[in-house]
């Protein structure tokens, strides 16, 4: 017995019935292909949509909130910033280089679709243990792919993060975030208004890439049987994208487009239907005019192709010639493929015959919505009961040795030195610090950005974990002098058809929402990646936050980790520690424990500490937030980067190694007295050739440096 076609396309019988109801007839093959992709989890958010409304999305500075290709905020004086995050998890597992490369390409298109010039990329990534060759291969391939595409397309990669855990072995996470800036007049949206306007397809030729493809793949579990669903891998072409960026930016500058949309999942069918639906219009599309890379493509294949580096611009008829000429100047292929029509129908023709006719809006608006069952995982109580068994006394220097050797805590320069992180001459604080800080030339304004996630802590308590990553990201931008301004999020989860996973999802959304509300920071966009499971095992619930911070003016000399000097004092700013070891690096690396229940964020303390950080950033040589590895690792990073030791005078070992939230270190000149910035206390003095914890031992600086620098390279050699 052969399976009905809709099932091979990943559609349930009920969903198929809805298509029949919408059309009031049996769908043609091309139509079924369109619905199957547009109604996939990846495109329709059918399992998550009900919950995403919880996020606070409003603030006076929000220009474009969630729903468009990227969120946009106002920076004053006519300047806007656009931010967006996406996942490319499954494609990167199939082919790490191209998967990651095309992830970068896709996220950049989301930015310049808004009219913005992309100015920076971040890459939060997660893998299984580097003990396994396959994971080393994946990490190297992903980093090379991000470098290969990002560097060549000419957009610097300013940071990211990396975690390792077994749950990512069969399912690495590759998220990418991009930032753009634009002047207000250049903002464009994806609405096709105006009957008779022309849809111009710009960019690469259309081939059989990712047919039935990337989006379906990202909407189903990944197991042995999924070979059949495997799309042909897409090959990224950064050169084509670079030309496309320049061509589109010039189109906007000359006011030649009415609306524009990038081609991502579901290719032409998605772009045409969304443009039409957003403008309350319809569109006639002629597939014979699409520039094809391969012979004999069916209408369904052309419509669904996920070939990279393509854009769909909506242009007034009288401007078409100028648009085509401009494309030619930039050596970008372009052709008119459609016309905006009244009435809301998307009609597709090939060889003069009508091959599909659907209500454009139905592809997105009539998509199914599921409120899937939720249930708190039964295993959680046992996990909480398995709290780290913390000893009375610890050799902090010894523990630090192990922590600095952890691949997620050691030096990440092996990664970020493969990325151009200086192009455009905006990078005031680059990777290797907490947040990166970019200047906007010709203004006093600065943008700070950090990406943060914490799979383990979110597994232990998704609500608290979700809140804490938001607070951590906020502090990471605050230590560069910027105030938290907007958030994008990437929610990487397991199979939503499992009630435990849905419960985790909803808890995370709640925790993140509470933190954003307390901070007064709007969520301006995001992405959901479900079905991150292999062989029935789900990944940790892994939300990733991208935090945009803003300052105007920028600090005259923003703090950096490498500016500590002999004789300076080290102050610990933040509330008393809470003995918070659950999910800490110390528990994981030194005690081998991954249980317990982490403490919650404290909105009041968090806000105070962020205000202190912003104030101190105006004049402190070094500020560094305390996160994985606690005060001990934070201090060690300052010592290593500045090339000077430290003597810790007053601190309990628990204070040094636990990971209570809302704390940072400030290294200040000896004459400074910041004690009015309570809660604050002096804990160490910079100097000497060791990181000296007194009765808890001392680690020679040279040794610490050696261990830290080699943590990643020695595992990848």
């Amino acid at each position: 017995m052969t399976e009905p076609v809709h099932r091979t396309l990943g559609m349930t019988d009920e969903e198929y019935e809805s298509v029949v109801r919408v059309l009031d007839r049996t769908p043609e093959p091309a139509e079924l292909a369109m619905y199957s992709v547009m109604w996939s989890e990846h495109c329709s958010y059918k399992s998550s949509r009900a919950w995403l409304g919880r996020f606070p999305t409003e603030a006076p500075w929000v220009v474009v909130g969630p729903g468009e290709n990227a969120g946009v905020v106002d920076l004053g004086d006519g300047w806007l910033a656009a931010l967006r995050i996406e996942s490319h998890n499954h494609p990167s597992f199939v082919e790490p280089y191209q998967g990651a490369a095309t992830g970068v390409g896709g996220i950049l298109r989301d930015i310049f679709t808004m009219g913005a010039r992309p100015i920076a990329v971040w890459d939060p990534i997660r893998f299984g243990s580097l003990d396994q060759p396959r994971n080393r291969y994946l990490l190297k391939g992903v980093v090379a792919g991000i470098a290969g595409y990002g560097n060549a397309v000419g957009v610097p990669t300013l940071g990211g993060e990396i975690e390792f855990a077994d749950c990512y072995s069969g399912n690495p996470l590759v998220n990418v975030m991009a930032l753009g800036i634009l002047e207000r007049e250049q903002l464009v949206l994806s609405a096709a208004s105006g009957e008779g306007n022309v849809a111009v397809l710009l960019g690469a030729a259309t081939g059989r890439d990712g047919i039935g493809g990337a989006s379906i793949l990202a909407s189903a579990s990944f197991d042995e049987g999924s070979g059949a669903k495997r799309p042909s891998v897409q090959i990224g072409d950064p050169f084509e994208e670079k030309k496309l960026i320049e061509a589109c930016l010039e189109l906007y500058e000359r006011g030649l487009v009415v609306g524009i949309q990038d081609l991502g999942a579901a290719g032409i069918s998605c772009a045409t239907s969304e443009c039409a639906a957003n403008g309350g219009m319809g569109m006639d599309v002629d597939l014979d005019t699409v520039h094809l890379r391969e012979h004999g493509m069916t209408p369904g294949e052309i419509l669904m192709s996920e070939s990279q580096e393509r854009m769909l611009a909506i242009v007034r008829p009288e401007d078409v010639a100028e648009v085509l000429a401009l494309a030619e100047k930039w050596e970008v292929d372009a052709s008119s493929i459609g016309t905006v029509t009244p009435g809301g129908a998307l009609r597709v023709f090939q060889d003069g015959a009508l091959v599909a006719e659907v209500p454009a809006a139905s592809l997105s608006e009539d998509a199914p919505r599921y409120e899937r069952p939720r249930e708190r995982p039964a295993w959680l109580d046992a996990v909480w009961a398995d709290a780290p068994d913390v000893p009375d006394q610890v050799d902090v220097a010894g523990a630090l040795r192990s922590l600095l050797d952890d691949p997620a805590l050691g030096d990440r320069s092996w990664i970020y030195e493969q990325y151009d992180h200086q192009l455009f001459l905006n990078t005031v604080v680059g990777p290797g610090n907490d947040g990166s800080l970019l200047r906007i030339k010709g203004t006093e304004k600065g943008l700070a950005v950090s990406t943060d996630g914490d799979g383990l802590r979110c597994r232990l308590d998704p609500r608290r974990g979700g809140a804490r990553i938001v607070w951590e990201a906020a502090l990471n931008v605050a230590v560069t002098g910027a105030r938290p301004y907007a958030v994008v999020d990437n929610l990487n989860f397991g199979n939503p058809e499992k009630p435990e996973v849905m419960w985790q999802f909803v808890e995370v959304v709640e925790g993140m929402s509470q933190a954003c509300e307390a901070l007064g920071v709007p969520v301006i966009g995001g992405n959901v990646s479900f079905y991150n499971e292999t062989g029935g095992v789900d990944i940790h619930p892994t939300p990733v936050v991208g935090m945009l911070g803003f300052c105007d003016p920028m600090p005259p000399r923003a703090p950096r980790l490498d500016r500590a000097e002999e004789g300076m004092d080290v102050w610990l700013v933040g509330p008393e520690h809470l003995d918070d070891f659950a999910g800490s690096a110390f528990a994981r690396v030194v005690l081998g424990n991954e249980g317990g229940r982490p403490h919650d964020a404290d909105a009041e303390a968090g806000s105070t500490v962020i205000a202190h950080a912003i104030q101190l950033a105006g004049w402190s040589p070094v500020l560094h937030d305390v996160s994985a590895g606690g005060v001990a690792v934070a201090l060690a990073e300052i010592c290593i980067r500045s090339g000077v030791g430290a003597v810790v005078e007053a601190a309990d070992w628990r204070e040094l190694l636990c990971e209570s939230p809302h704390r940072f270190l400030a290294v200040l000149p000896p004459e400074a007295d910041p004690s009015d910035l309570s809660p604050i206390r002096r804990i160490a003095t910079m100097g000497g050739a060791a990181i000296d914890f007194g009765r808890y031992g001392a680690l020679p600086l040279t040794e610490a440096t050696e261990i830290w620098r080699n943590a990643l390279p020695r595992r990848l050699a």
């Binding site: 890439d209 891998v233 090959i235």
Partner: protein, 80 residues
């Protein structure tokens, strides 16, 4: 023995280098040029007496390291 491995991208996948080189050849006036495709050759010196055995070993190297079977095809020729 000297072995030549030829690695080419699987049919149907895009080949940006080929496209750009095609464009450049036409700019230089070589209008007779049609499709251009890029690949790699790796020549490997392998100690061994038996050609069939060497062939099998190098094919294994291709699967494991030299080629990326997800996007590439390879051919191994033992040149002797």
């Amino acid at each position: 023995m000297k072995v030549r491995v030829s690695i080419t991208r699987k049919a149907g996948l895009s080949d940006p280098e080929g496209v750009e080189t095609h464009r450049a050849l036409h700019d230089l006036g070589y209008d007779e040029v049609g499709d251009v495709h890029f690949g790699r050759i790796i020549t490997v010196e392998v100690a061994g007496k038996d050609a069939a055995e060497v062939q099998a070993r190098v094919e294994e190297m291709c699967e494991r390291l030299l080629a990326n079977p997800v996007i590439e095809d390879y051919a191994v020729e033992v040149l002797g």
